[in-house]
């Protein structure tokens, strides 16, 4: 079997990894006083994965797990305590489970929070955490709306906190290398970035029911509008309901769109002309796009062609195409034409992107050394915004012009009204 696969596998699920000590700039073991206390908020697949990965990292200690569905928090918490109990003695098995994230924001032993909830919660939780002096790792997409994303970025600036977004492809050598090829002219002039990601899903009408015991449904809804509980809504299916997420055009799209903007920053420099088409569910609980094809063009002529992979010209992945070649990158693979591009040794004058080979370690090092992580809030805000304006253009069915400086559409007030949504009281950002 390929040996490399161990590492790949570990990264894919966030399993424990042995980190080189020099990532942290010193020799290995961590003094208890320097260990970063972490609370995981949202104990679904991602949250549990983060907890699992953090357990294998000596410089962090998971001290709390939160979920509106308490049994889920308890189950992850149980695993955490079993691990620490076995490896660091019974005193270390002191992780607690809770339902309301506000409880952990008041705890002095929590230095950082990992937010792995649906998108409607991201900004509210991130802003509240930073205002309470916590550093934040927040799953992608950054926010449900452009305005909420702006609020997150402003709060990072105002509080001086460390913030890492969950766009973890930035910590993958292949993605970084592809972006460096694009930025340093190895592809000639880059004219198109092709992005394809999995399309959305339709859902049946999920039946209205009583929330299961242990779920504080009102807390699960949080800033989203009041709505009856539906069977199956609170795990996975929420991705496709616009009250909680703008769909996979946003939540999956942001991964490769982030890479597109990293490798072709001129896409986010001034303005973008945006147009596109999409299909939407005609019935059922889902109301986000199923397939889409959008084109976002910057003034210099660079185009981001962003589509669901069944209609994407080059299928899944992110492809930078220039007039002298292309590079196509996906998780676990990279291709180029000509293939010799993959053997390029960078020139001294080349722009080098920040090197991070482990997304969580990069964040924890940031917490310790106050260095801005590789997936800073502004970067994920731009990527999230690009997916949201693509979504709006397909819904409006007309060509829009986006101004990055104003963070508004030019000459389209109807669409500007969609850039923010009022949050259900008492929640605010």
């Amino acid at each position: 079997m390929p040996r490399r696969a161990f590492l790949k596998g570990a990264l894919a699920v966030g399993a424990p990894l042995v980190l080189p000590a020099r990532v942290l700039g010193r020799g290995g073991a961590t003094a208890p006083s320097e260990r970063i206390g972490v609370a995981v908020i949202g104990a679904g697949g991602r949250g549990a994965g983060h907890a699992e990965a953090l357990m294998g990292m000596d410089e962090a200690r998971v001290v709390a797990v939160c979920d509106a569905f308490l049994p889920r928090a308890e189950s992850v918490c149980h695993r955490v305590n079993a691990h620490y109990g076995a490896t660091a003695g019974p005193a270390a098995a002191s992780c607690t489970a809770c339902q309301d994230f506000r409880e952990v924001l008041g705890r002095p032993d929590v230095d950082a929070v990992f937010i792995a909830t649906p998108e409607n919660w991201h900004a509210v939780m991130a802003v509240a955490a930073m205002n309470r002096g916590k550093d934040v790792y927040c799953e992608k997409a950054l926010s449900l709306t452009v305005a909420e994303g702006r609020a997150v970025c402003d709060t990072v600036r105002r509080t001086g906190r460390i913030f890492q977004a969950g766009t973890q492809q930035r910590s993958d050598r292949n993605f970084r290398f592809a972006c460096e090829l694009a930025r340093n002219g190895y592809l000639g002039r880059v004219h198109t970035v092709w992005v394809g990601v999995p399309g959305g899903r339709t859902l049946p009408v999920l039946p209205i029911a009583d929330p299961p015991a242990g779920l504080d449904y009102d807390l699960w809804l949080g800033p989203a509008p009041a709505a009856p509980y539906r069977e199956g809504l609170c795990s996975f299916n929420w991705y496709f309901v616009s009250d909680y997420c703008a769909g996979w055009i946003q939540s999956w799209g942001v991964h490769h769109v982030d890479i597109a903007l990293w490798g072709a920053p001129e896409l986010a420099a001034a303005t973008l002309d945006v147009e596109g088409t999409a299909t939407f569910p005609e019935d059922g609980t889902a109301d986000t796009s199923v397939t889409w094809h959008a084109r976002l063009t910057a003034p210099g002529g660079v185009t981001l062609d962003f589509a669901s992979e069944d209609v994407a010209r080059h299928g899944h992945g992110c492809r930078f195409e220039g007039d002298e070649g292309w590079v196509h990158v996906v998780r676990g693979g990279i291709q180029a034409e000509p293939a010799t591009l993959l053997r390029v040794t960078p020139r001294p004058a080349d722009t080098r992107l920040r090197r991070s080979d482990h997304h969580l370690a990069d964040f924890l090092a940031g917490v310790r050394t106050r260095r801005e992580p590789v997936a800073a809030a502004e970067s994920c805000h731009q990527a999230t915004t690009a997916t949201l304006i693509a979504d709006m253009a397909t819904r409006a069915g007309r060509r829009l012009t986006w101004d990055w400086r104003l963070e508004r559409f030019l000459h389209d007030d109807p669409c500007n009204r969609l850039l923010s949504r009022a949050l259900r009281a008492p929640w605010r950002v």
Partner: protein
């Protein structure tokens, strides 16, 4: 898009009178009045699209009026109201404000109305919200305050200030935050008048930040100055204030940051270092430089990063001085920083650092040398490479290459002839990495003349890398041909040159190699023939055929024949060549090789030829494998022929190969073939299921979903599909078997009705399910309204390579009524629920729960269910089970759920056979691992099979249990192939009766660990020539542990000797004396 939606779009934008809304929209608006959330969402989708697409003001007005109309009705269902208000947020205007404002007074409706009003830019919306401030309380008031803040409604400043200093604590906190967001000078004043509190200070900081962004810098600075008159309430607030000060008043921030460098709180200190870098003041660089040697090592690393990142040149001298720090991390940081700041006279320093004892420092220095800016750096590097201290010349040369310095070519030429091995090696490496065509002849000459084997090997690699970059065939072949013709070239060098030609390939190179094979000295001929046998492209196919026929030397003949067979399928007429080669074959081993070559030819003739081999017992397995592979390639082109051929294969062989043949037949024949094959294979399938049942249990009914809708066992229970449609997954039969490829599916739940269950015995339902298309399926199992299992994720094939899962759950007797029960497979995620097979098993009459047999049998548990995708555990586990179960004293159970490691009953087994690896999966968890560890420690035996040596990467205790573990940093294993297992210990009970044997398997060469072990068998690697342990034993606590790395695939485990080894090992581990 539906026709309905298309009609809406057409009507709205087709140029008809814009203000007249199309009928479907009006109908949808009417239908929405009855929307309670339970029914269809279709009308909502119509309205959403109408709203999103409405750009014309007249259409928007009309549409908003239609959407607002139902809101006057207090009895409107909540979901309808929420929906309509969300649309009004997008489209409403002044005309809708009164309707929404009226709703603010009704607590049940206020929230929806308020959210719409917040989004409406019309000033009337703001007025309505402000007016509501006076009369609302509680949550409704909080919401309105937030909305005014979000609108940055300056006119609300006065009322909000009053609320902020009022008695209602919740409203006051909201008003403070809202004033911070409004951030007008008046709002700031109002905030400043309030008593200090963390919330107020936070609002004031937001004010200052926003005023600064709005260009009102003086006001921002005043606010900031006011704030710093009081002490910060918390470390977080201190950090936030400092961040604000840096932005708003950098000059004033400088002393704060300078003092912060000595702060006790590490995070604040480090933040100050970062802020200093971003301040953009020359004085900041001086502060940092002056403090550098006082900082702790860890803070120095941060400061050096900041100095490099912001190119703070004022700190250059201090950076140079810490390059001599005793801390390696500081030296590395200093080297990196010098890379950004340094000059030509730093080259010597960095070259010295490039020879540092610490690898991180060496790497940082090399990178710094590659990017060091400034004049004269290239010359300094070249000079050091040419005449510097011997220890630094190689590093300098590498640096010059990385910099692509002018004059590098000349220097390389000299270094290639240097007397020092280190310099020569660096020069060769640089050529391979970055050289161009002009270096190729020179490098060829170096290889031809080089005496040191290590350098020769490096030169060979470099020539291959360089040659692959040269487009011109003559340019890469002719220099080598010249060197080969030269009498001064030593035989070892000639062999290396020939290997270079072999790696490069092509007609011209082939001609040279051919010539050497015919006319060279014996050593050269031998080397040339070996290169020929490995030739990368089919141009050598004819040569190889001819030479294989003529070869006298048996080694050459074997190599050439293999090469010919390898290349034949890639040629334009593969069958003609293969027929020719067939005449040369000697013995069954070569017959098998021939069939393996044949399997790569996708033609009906090849299929016939493969079928022809089925009659010969010695090559039957390879013939079947070839036929299946060819059949799979031809399935779509010649379905009829392939189906017939696969039937012959399935009849001739058994087990996995027959299953694979059936899979291909399904591929060719679709659902029809699947049905036929499922029925044909029924006896075998049900027998296999029955075999897996515990003693005393029997299979009572079996239904293959997708093939049949109902089965009635004579005198027994019946199974009927009550909800579910039929589907065949294309391509699935080959991966998971015919039965798993056909499924019943349903958007909600697949339901089976069971009847005829007698109450006198326990019943169990078994099933297989599979998320073949990786849809993200997650399902639960219900019976009689009770949940029996789940929700659980189904194994997915596409992209994950997980085979179908077979599971069984007991039917609770209380769920069975009148002998009947409904079993449901419910969708919990993804687009629908699926199930592949369902069966019923009954336990012994009179017993209510299954019990293990009372005979003095030893219980063995095989744990599998997860592995690296190349390890088809679903195929290997049954072979392993059958091999072990031949010992009738062992009762063998297979669990496909690794979570069983955490089960409390684990210590009840006498031995555990671990045939599992936690591939891309966090594993069963620390608690389960501990349970497993304690079980072995307590005396249960353990047998580890093949990749179980890698089962728990990252669990340090595992190496003490397993003796040796997979080390991913070492070379994994020899290529899959034949080798001899030598039994070296015949005194041990496991191997006492065993002879050495041959097998075809993976020979693992990467085991690591220093736990004492007793080696029973070894094998010699063809790659590194050393012996590696193949089987060994140890003790863990009271547990006997046997570990063997044999067993890569079903064929390897089917080797009787391997089976015997594991059978004896299982018996021994369970505490018995092994018997055959």
């Amino acid at each position: 898009m539906s026709r309905l939606l298309a009609a809406v779009a057409m009507a709205l934008f087709g140029g008809v009178c814009a203000a007249e809304l199309p009928a479907p929209v009006l109908e949808a608006a009417e239908a929405v009045r009855g929307y309670t959330g339970a029914g269809s969402r279709r009308p909502l989708a119509v309205l959403e699209q109408a709203v999103a697409r409405a750009a014309d003001p007249a259409v928007r007005r009309e549409l908003a009026a239609v959407l607002a109309a139902p809101l006057a009705d207090r009895t409107l269902p909540g979901p309808a109201r929420t929906f309509l208000c969300r649309q009004l947020a997008a489209i409403g205007s002044a005309a809708e404000v009164p309707t929404l404002a009226a709703m603010l007074d009704d607590p049940a409706r206020a929230e929806d109305a308020r959210r719409a009003l917040q989004a409406m830019p019309d000033p009337a919306a703001g007025e309505a919200l402000r007016a509501a401030l006076q009369r609302l309380t509680g949550a409704a008031l909080t919401g309105v305050i937030h909305s005014l803040g979000e609108r940055r409604d300056a006119a609300a400043t006065g009322p909000l200030a009053a609320i902020a200093s009022g008695p209602d604590a919740a409203a006051s906190a909201s008003a403070v935050a809202a004033l911070g967001r409004i951030a007008s000078p008046e709002a700031a004043e109002a905030l400043a008048r309030l008593p200090a509190s963390p919330a107020r200070d936070q609002a004031l900081m937001e004010c200052a930040d926003r005023l600064w962004l709005d260009g009102r810098r003086a006001e921002a600075q005043t606010l900031c100055a006011g704030l710093s008159r009081t002490a910060a309430a918390s470390p977080a607030e201190r950090l936030a204030r400092t961040a604000l000060l840096c932005r708003v008043a950098p000059e004033e921030a400088l002393p704060v940051l300078a003092a912060g460098l000595g702060d006790e709180e590490a995070l604040f200190r480090r933040a100050c270092i970062r802020f200093l870098g971003g301040l953009g003041l020359p004085a900041a660089a001086q502060v940092l430089a002056g403090a550098l040697d006082r900082l702790s090592a860890e803070d120095q690393v941060i400061a050096l990063e900041v100095i490099g990142q912001h190119r703070l040149e004022a700190a250059t001298d201090e950076v140079r001085s810490v390059l001599a720090s005793p801390e390696a991390a500081v030296r590395a940081g200093a080297a990196s920083a010098l890379g950004a700041l340094g000059r030509a006279d730093d080259v010597a320093r960095l070259l010295a650092a490039a020879g540092d004892a610490d690898a991180a420092v060496r790497e940082a220095a090399a990178e710094a040398l590659a990017v060091l800016p400034g004049e004269g750096v290239d010359q300094a590097v070249l000079r050091a490479a040419a005449e510097g201290p011997p220890a630094q010349r190689a590093a300098a040369l590498e640096a010059a290459a990385a910099r692509q310095s002018q004059g590098l070519a000349l220097l390389l030429d000299r270094c290639l002839a240097d007397p020092g091995d280190g310099v020569r090696l660096a020069a060769i490496r640089v050529c391979g990495r970055g050289g161009d065509g002009s270096v190729f002849p020179r490098l060829t000459a170096v290889l031809a003349a080089e005496r040191a084997p290590a350098l020769r090997a490096e030169a060979e690699r470099a020539l291959i890398a360089l040659g692959r970059r040269l487009p011109d065939e003559a340019a890469r072949v002719d220099p080598i041909a010249g060197a080969l013709a030269s009498p001064g070239t030593a035989p070892e060098a000639a062999a290396a040159l020939l290997r270079v030609l072999g790696a490069l390939g092509g007609e011209r190179a082939l001609a040279v190699v051919r010539d050497c094979a015919a006319h060279g000295a014996p050593a050269i001929q031998d080397a040339a023939l070996r290169v020929l046998a490995d030739w990368p492209d089919p141009s050598a196919a004819d040569d190889l055929c001819t030479r294989a026929a003529e070869a006298q030397n048996p080694v050459h003949r074997a190599l050439l024949l293999r090469g010919a067979l390898r290349l034949a399928p890639q040629t334009p007429e593969p069958m003609a060549r293969l027929e020719r080669l067939r005449g040369l074959l000697r013995g069954p081993e070569e017959g098998r090789l021939w069939l393996s070559a044949l399997s790569q030819v996708s033609s009906p003739e090849a299929l016939d030829a493969a079928l022809g081999g089925l009659g010969d017992a010695e090559v039957r397995a390879e013939a079947a494998a070839a036929a299946v592979r060819i059949g799979a390639a031809l399935a779509r082109r010649s379905p009829r022929e392939v189906q017939a051929a696969m039937a012959r294969v399935a009849a001739a062989v058994a087990g996995p190969q027959a299953a694979a043949a059936r899979g291909v037949a399904v591929e060719a024949g679709g659902l029809e073939a699947a049905r036929r094959l499922s029925l044909e294979g029924r006896p075998e399938r049900t027998a296999a299921l029955a075999r897996d049942l515990p003693a005393g249990w029997s299979l009572a009914a079996y239904l293959d979903c997708g093939v049949e809708a109902e089965v009635q066992a004579p005198g027994g229970p019946s199974l009927r599909l009550a909800a579910g449609q039929v589907w065949l997954w294309e391509g699935a039969a080959g991966a998971g078997g015919v039965e798993a490829a056909t499924v019943a599916f349903d958007p909600g739940q697949v339901v089976l009705e069971v009847s005829g269950l007698t109450p006198d015995r326990p019943w169990r339902v078994g099933f297989t399910w599979w998320d073949f298309d990786n849809n993200g399926r997650r399902q639960s199992v219900w019976a009689g309204g009770r949940r029996l299992m789940g929700p659980a994720d189904l194994p997915a094939w596409l992209g994950r390579q997980e085979p179908p899962a077979a599971m069984a759950v007991d039917l609770p007797p209380e769920g069975i009524a009148g002998g009947r029960v409904r079993i449901a497979f419910r969708r919990e995620a993804a687009s629908n629920a699926v199930v592949s097979e369902v069966w019923l098993a009954s336990g012994p009459a009179g017993s209510l729960a299954p019990r293990p047999g009372k005979v003095a049998m030893k219980r063995v548990l095989i744990i599998t269910g997860r592995d690296y995708p190349g390890h088809l555990w679903a195929q290997t586990a049954p072979v392993l089970r059958d091999a072990i179960a031949q010992d009738k004293r062992l009762e063998v159970t297979v669990s496909e759920d690794p979570l069983v490691l955490g089960a409390p009953e684990l210590p009840g087994y006498d031995a555990i056979v671990l045939h599992y690896m936690n591939w891309e999966d966090p594993g069963p968890g620390a608690a389960a691992q501990e349970n497993f560890r304690r079980t072995i420690e307590g005396g249960t035996g353990l047998v580890l099979v093949h990749f179980a040596c890698g089962a728990f990467q990252g669990w340090p205790e595992f190496v003490r249990i397993a003796g040796r573990v997979w080390d991913p940093k070492r070379r994994g294993h020899d290529p899959h192939g034949p080798f001899r297992v030598v039994i070296i210990d015949r005194t041990h009970p496991v191997t006492a009766a065993m002879d050495s044997f041959d097998t075809t398997d993976e020979l693992y060469t990467c085991l690591a660990g220093d736990t004492p072990i007793q080696i029973l068998a070894t094998a010699r690697s063809k790659v590194d020539g050393t012996d590696h342990p193949i089987a060994f034993t140890l003790r863990y606590g009271k547990g006997r542990v046997f570990h063997s790395v044999l067993g890569h695939d079903a064929a390897a485990l089917a080797n009787p000797a391997a089976g015997q080894l594991f059978r004896r090992a299982a018996a021994w581990a369970a505490g018995l004396e092994p018997e055959d």
